[in-house]
C-alpha cells in the first residue's frame, strides 16, 4: 500500500461527497456527504502521518473526529428544526434568503 | 509629560461613559454631566491657549502613551499654535452646543452620549501627532453624525415640482435618513482616500511608526507627491466642503438637530481644512506646490458658487449651510496661496467661521423651535417680538460679511491680502466678490426675517430667547467681538505655527511661491 493509493482513495471518497452535496436535496443526505468529505480529509492526514512517521497527523485526525461529532450534532439539530418549521427536511423548502 | 491634553480630549468621552450609568429618567443629571464634560474641555482648552508658549512655538504639552509599540502606534498628543486655537474653538462650540441641546426631548441620553463621543474625536484630531490615531479619531468624529442626524434630525422635503418630483421621491431626497446617509457615505469615501494616502506614505517612507514628525522627515518621490496629495486634498476636503464634494453639507446641516449643525459646520468642517493643511501640505510639499493652483481655483469656485447658491435658497438653514460652503472656500483659498499672511488668515477663518456659524445655527434653532418654520418667506417682523435674537443674528451676519470689529474681517482680509501678494489677484478679487455677495444674501435674509411690520397673527405669540437659551448666543457673540477687536489673542498663537509649517514647504520648493 503506497501513499498514492491512499490519496486516490481519499480523492474518490471526497468526490463522492461533493457529488452527494451538490445533488441531494435531503438535509440528512447532505450531512452524510459532508461527513464523507471530512473523512476523506482525515484519511489524507492519517496517510501522511503514516508515511512520514510523524504522529502529528493522527493527533490532528482524532481532534477533527471530535469536532465532527459536534458538527453532526448541530447539523442534525438543524435538520430537525427545518422539519419542524417547514414540514419537510428538503433544502429547497428553506429559501427565505433569496434576493 | 502634561496631562492637560488627555483631559481636554477625553473629558467628554468620560462624561459620555458616565451617562451610561445614569437612568433614562434622570433628565437633569444627564444634562449636568454632559455640561460638566463640555465645561472641563472648554476650561482645559482655554488653559492650553493661555499656557502655550507663544515665543517658543512648536509642539508643546506632549503626552505619549504607547498603544501598540510593535506597530509603532502611540497615543501621542501634542499641541501647536494651530491646534491650540482650534481646541479653543471646539471648546467654545461644544459648550454652546450642549446648552443648545437642553431642549432635546426624545432619547436625550443617547443624544448626549453620541455628541460627547464625537467631540472627543474632534479634540483628538487637533492634537494627535500619530497619523493612525489621527485617522481613528477623525472617524470617531465623523461616524456618530449618522445616528445624530438619522435619529434626531428633521425631515424637510421641499415640495418638488416638474420632472424631478418622481425621481426625488424615489430617493427620499430631503428626508433626514437620506441626509444622514448621503453625509456619511460621502465622508467615508473621503476617509477611504485618506487611509490609502496614509498607508502609501507609511510604506514608502519605510517608517517604523505613524508619527507625523517621522513621516514628515522623509522626502517622498515626485509621483507619490503628485498622487497622494490629491488623495488628502479631496479626502479631507470632502469634509471641508470642497467643490464638487460639498453637496452633503446643505442637506446634512439642514436636517441635523441644532447642536449637531453647530458642531458640524462650526468644527467638523475645520477638521477637513486642518487635515489638508497639517497633513497634506506639510507632508507633501512638492505635491502641494504642483496642485496649489488647482486647489485655489476650486476654492474660488467654492467661495462664489457657495455664495450664489446661498442667495437662491428659501430655507433659512440651507442659507446658513451654503454660506459655510462659501466661507470654507475662503479657508481653502488661503491655504492654496502658500503665503504666511493668507495662512494666518485661513486658520483664523476656521476659528471665525466656526464661532459665527455656530451662532447662526443656534439662533436658527431658536427661531425654529418657536415658529416651526424655516422658510424665510413665511417669516417677517420677528424683530418686534424677539429683539435679542435679532441682535445676535445681525451680529453673526455682520461677521459673516466681514465687518471690521468682528472675527470674520480679520480672517478674510488676511486671506485676500495674501492672495494678492503672491500674485493671485483673481483669487483675491473673487474672494472679495464673494464677500460682497455674502453681504447681499445675509442682510436680505435678515431683513426678511426680522424687519418689516410686526409678525403675522400666527407668530404674534412668539417670545424672545430667555434664561439658559441666552448662554450660547452670548458666549459665541462675545467670541466674535472679542477676537474681532483683538485678533492677536489667537493670531499670536497661529503665527509661529504658520511660519514653522510654511518653512517645511518653502525649504523643499526653494522659497518660490
Amino acid at each position: 500500500m503506497t501513499l498514492t493509493t491512499c490519496l486516490l482513495l481519499a480523492s474518490a471518497l471526497f468526490s463522492v461527497g461533493v457529488y452527494g452535496l451538490l445533488t441531494r436535496q435531503q438535509l440528512v443526505a447532505v450531512l452524510v456527504s459532508v461527513e464523507l468529505m471530512a473523512n476523506a480529509a482525515n484519511i489524507v492526514l492519517v496517510a501522511f502521518s503514516h508515511f512520514t512517521a510523524s504522529p502529528l497527523g493522527q493527533v490532528f485526525t482524532l481532534f477533527a473526529l471530535a469536532i465532527t461529532v459536534a458538527e453532526v450534532a448541530v447539523g442534525l439539530a438543524l435538520a430537525l428544526l427545518l422539519y419542524r418549521t417547514h414540514a419537510s427536511s428538503r433544502l429547497d423548502a428553506a429559501k427565505e434568503m433569496n434576493g | 509629560m502634561s496631562l492637560l491634553l488627555p483631559v481636554v480630549v477625553f473629558a467628554p468621552a468620560i462624561a459620555a461613559f458616565l451617562l451610561l450609568a445614569i437612568p433614562d429618567s434622570q433628565k437633569a443629571a444627564t444634562r449636568a454631566v454632559s455640561l460638566l464634560g463640555a465645561t472641563i474641555s472648554l476650561l482645559g482648552s482655554i488653559k492650553v491657549a493661555l499656557d502655550y508658549d507663544r515665543s517658543a512655538g512648536g509642539l508643546q504639552m506632549g503626552y505619549d502613551l504607547p498603544l501598540l509599540p510593535t506597530l509603532g502606534i502611540h497615543l501621542n498628543l501634542a499641541v501647536d499654535g494651530w491646534g491650540a486655537s482650534l481646541l479653543l474653538l471646539t471648546g467654545i462650540i461644544i459648550f454652546a452646543a450642549v446648552l443648545a441641546s437642553f431642549t432635546v426631548a426624545r432619547r436625550d441620553k443617547e443624544f448626549f452620549i453620541y455628541l460627547l463621543v464625537l467631540v472627543s474625536g474632534v479634540f483628538g484630531v487637533f492634537v494627535a501627532q500619530d497619523l493612525l490615531i489621527f485617522f481613528l479619531l477623525y472617524e470617531i468624529a465623523v461616524l456618530p453624525m449618522y445616528l445624530l442626524i438619522g435619529i434626531w434630525g428633521s425631515s424637510n422635503k421641499v415640495a418638488e415640482d416638474g420632472p424631478f418630483r418622481y425621481v426625488w421621491s424615489l430617493l427620499d431626497v430631503g428626508g433626514r435618513e437620506y441626509a444622514a446617509m448621503k453625509l456619511t457615505l460621502m465622508l467615508l469615501m473621503g476617509s477611504a482616500a485618506i487611509l490609502v494616502g496614509i498607508f502609501w506614505l507609511y510604506l514608502e517612507a519605510g517608517a517604523t511608526s505613524f508619527d507625523l514628525a517621522e513621516l514628515a522627515r522623509h522626502e517622498y518621490a515626485e509621483p507619490t507627491q503628485l498622487i497622494v496629495f490629491p488623495l488628502f486634498w479631496l479626502g479631507f476636503g470632502t469634509l471641508a466642503g470642497v467643490f464638487p464634494f460639498h453637496t452633503w453639507s446643505p442637506d446634512g446641516h439642514a436636517s441635523a438637530p441644532t447642536a449637531v449643525s453647530m458642531l458640524h459646520a462650526g468644527v467638523l468642517m475645520k477638521l477637513g481644512a486642518f487635515g489638508v493643511m497639517r497633513v497634506g501640505m506639510v507632508l507633501l510639499p512638492e505635491g502641494t506646490h504642483a496642485w496649489a493652483p488647482i486647489v485655489g481655483a476650486v476654492a474660488v469656485i467654492n467661495v462664489v458658487y457657495g455664495a450664489f447658491s446661498a442667495m437662491s435658497q428659501k430655507d433659512l438653514k440651507y442659507i446658513v449651510a451654503y454660506s459655510s460652503v462659501s466661507h470654507m472656500g475662503v479657508v481653502m483659498l488661503g491655504a492654496a496661496t502658500l503665503d504666511s499672511t493668507a495662512w494666518n488668515g485661513a486658520v483664523f477663518q476656521m476659528f471665525a467661521h466656526g464661532v459665527m456659524t455656530g451662532l447662526l445655527f443656534a439662533l436658527v434653532g431658536l427661531i425654529y423651535e418657536r415658529s416651526h418654520t424655516r422658510i424665510i418667506a413665511t417669516m417677517g417682523g420677528f424683530g418686534s417680538v424677539m429683539p435679542v435674537v435679532a441682535l445676535f443674528f445681525t451680529l453673526a451676519c455682520l461677521s459673516s460679511l466681514g465687518l471690521p470689529g468682528t472675527a470674520g474681517f480679520v480672517a478674510e482680509m488676511m486671506v485676500f491680502l495674501g492672495a494678492w501678494r503672491v500674485g493671485h489677484p483673481i483669487w483675491a478679487i473673487a474672494g472679495i466678490v464673494g464677500a460682497f455677495v455674502t453681504a447681499v444674501y445675509v442682510l436680505r435674509a435678515s431683513r426678511t426675517i426680522f424687519w418689516g411690520p410686526g409678525p403675522s397673527e400666527k407668530f404674534e405669540h412668539l417670545h424672545d430667547a430667555h434664561g439658559s437659551e441666552l448662554v450660547a448666543p452670548i458666549v459665541l457673540g462675545a467670541a466674535i467681538v472679542v477676537f474681532g477687536v483683538w485678533p492677536r489673542l489667537i493670531l499670536d498663537l497661529i503665527d509661529p505655527s504658520t511660519s514653522a509649517n510654511l518653512a517645511v514647504i518653502t525649504r523643499v520648493i526653494g522659497g518660490g511661491q
Binding site: 452535496l21 451538490l22 436535496q25 447532505v30 433544502l91 428553506a94 429559501k95 434568503m97 433569496n98 434576493g99 | 424631478f164 425621481v167 426625488w168 424615489l170 430617493l171 431626497v173 448621503k182 457615505l185 460621502m186 464638487p244 453637496t247 452633503w248 458658487y305 450664489f308 447658491s309 442667495m311 437662491s312 435658497q313 504666511s340 499672511t341 494666518n344 417682523g381 460679511l401 465687518l403 471690521p404 474681517f409 480679520v410 482680509m413 488676511m414 485676500f416 491680502l417 494678492w420 501678494r421 472679495i432 466678490v433 460682497f436 453681504a439 442682510l443 436680505r444 431683513r447 424687519w451 418689516g452 411690520p453 410686526g454 485678533p487 492677536r488 493670531l491 497661529i494 503665527d495 511660519s499
Partner: protein
Amino acid sequence: MRSPLSEAPLAALVAVLAPALAALLLAVLPMVRRRGAPAAWICLASSVASLVSAGLLLAGQLGEAEPMAWTTSWLTLDGQGLGELGVNVDGISASMLVVVTIVALCVQVFSVSYMHDEPPDAYGRYFTYHALFLFSMNLLVLAPDLLQLFAGWELVGVTSYLLIGFYYRKPSAGRAALKAFWITKLADMGFILALAVLFTSTSAFRFDAELSTPLANVVAGLLFFAVVGKSAQFPLHIWLPDAMEGPTPVSALLHAATMVAAGVFLVVRADPIFAHAPDTREVMLVVGSLTALFAAGLATVQTDIKKVLAYSTCSQLGYMVAALGAGSTLGGYFHLTTHAFFKALLFLSAGSVIHAVHSNELADMGGLRKRMPLTATAFIVGSLALAGIPGTAGFFSKDLVLAALEGRMGWLPYVALMTTAFLTAFYMGRVVLVAFFGEARGKADHAHESGALMLGPLAVLAVLSLGVGYFGAHFAEVTATGEYHLHFGMTPAIASGLALGGFALAYAVFGGGRDASGVGVLALLDGAARSALVDRTYEALYRHGMLNAAAAIGWFDRYVMDGLVNLSGWLTLVAARSLRRLQSGFAPDYVFAVVLGALALAAWGYLS
C-alpha cells in the same frame, strides 16, 4: 511712531473710547437701554467727553504741540506686527475730530427732543446707535493707517445701515437701508483691493507710502472708487436720497455732515498717495464736477424737503471731490468743514419744521416764517451759507474750490461748478420761499415753534455757519494742507453774482406766495428721468443679474451637482437590484459556488 502709553495722547484715546464704552454699556445692558432716557444721558455724556477731548487736541495743535501718535500692532505676521491700531493726532485729524464731535453733540441734543415721542426702547436703541456711530467715526478720523481707517469706514457704514433702517417696521426703510449698505459695500471692494495693492508693495498700510506714479494711480484710483460710494458721487449716489428714510437728525449727522464726508476725508488723509496720482485726480475732477452739476439739477425738482437737501449734499460733495481732484486739498477740506456746519444746520432746521408739520412734503408747508421765526432764521442762514453769499462760511470755502479750478480742463469744471452755484441758490431760494413765505397750507396751520433743546443746537450751528469762514488762514496752518489767501478777483465776484441771481430767479418764480406746484422747470425733469435710469440700471443688475444668476446656480447645484450624487446613489440601487438575483437563497447553489471556486483555485495552482 511708537511711543509708550504714558506719553500717549490721552485725550485722543478718550475721544475714541468714551463713545465706545457708552455703546458697549448700552448694548450689553438692555435694562438701561430699554428705559430710554438713561441711554440718552449716557450717550450725551460720552459725546461731551469726546468734544472736550477734541477741543483740547485742536487747541494743542493750534499751539505748538507736535503731531503725536500712539499705536500698537493689530495683527501678527511672520512674528511681527501688521497694521497699526491706535490714535494719530495731527492738525488734520484734530480739526476733523472737532467738526465731528460738535455736529454729533448738536444732533444728539436736538434728538433728545426730536425723538421724544418714540417708545422708550426705540429711544434707547437710537442713542445706542449714535454712540456706536461716534465711536466709529472717531476711530476713522484718528486712524494711524489705512487699515484702521477702513475699520472705521465699514463701521460707520453699518451704523448708517442701522440708522436708516431705524424705523424697521417700515418696508421702505428696510429697502433703503439695504440699498445704502450694498452700494457702499460694492464700492468698498475698491478699498480692500487698494489695501491689498498697498500691502503687496509696502507691507504696510501707511497714508504716506512712497509709491511710483503708476502704482499710486492704481491705489488712489481704487480708493477713489470707495470714495465714490461713500461720498455718494455719480454714479453710485443713488443710495443717499433713499437714505432720508432715517430720522432727520440722522440725516443731518451721517448723511450730510460727517459720514458721507468720510470719503473726502480719506482723500485728504491719503494726500501723499493722491499727490502722486495725477490720472486719478483728473478722474476725480470730472466725477466731482459732474456730480455737483447733476445733483444740483435734481435738487431743483424735488418736492420732499429732505430730498432737496440730500441732492444738495451730493452736489456739495462733488465740489469737494472736484477741488481735491484739482489738487486743492485745502479747498476740499475747508469746504468739508464749512459744509458740515451749514448742512447740519439746514437738516436740523428742516427736522424742526418736519417735527412741527409732520410731513416732509414742501406742499404741506408754507408761511412758516410767522409760526416758527427762529427755525426760519436758522434755515435761511443755512441757505445763505450753502449758496455762498459773501460773508457766510460757504462763500470762503467755495471761493477756494472755484479758484483751484480756474483754467483746468478747458474751464469746463469751472463752468460746471459756477452753474451749480447758480442752481444751488435757486433751489435753496425755492425751498425757503415755498416753505417759509407765502400762505400756510395744509398741516402748516397748526405748526408751532420747537423747544429750546432743538433751537439751541440750531443757534450753535448758525453761528458756526456764519463765522467759520473767517478762520481759513488758521485752518490752513493747522492742517498744513496749503496756503490760504482770499481771492479778490473775478471768481468770487462771478460766484456771488450767480448766487444772487439764483435767489432772484427763485423769487421771480416762487416769490409772492405763488403756488409750489408751478415749478415750471420742465427742462430739468430730464435729469430726474436720468436718475430713474441710473436707479433702474442697478435694479436691473440686482434683479436680473444677481438674483437670476443665484437662481441659476442654485438650480444647477440642486439638480446637476446634487443630481450626480443622487444619480450615483440610484445607480448603486439599480445595480444592487440586478445583482441580488445571485443570492438565490438555496444552500446547494452556494455550495456549488464554493466547489467551483475550489476547482478554479486548484486549476490556477496547477497551471502556474
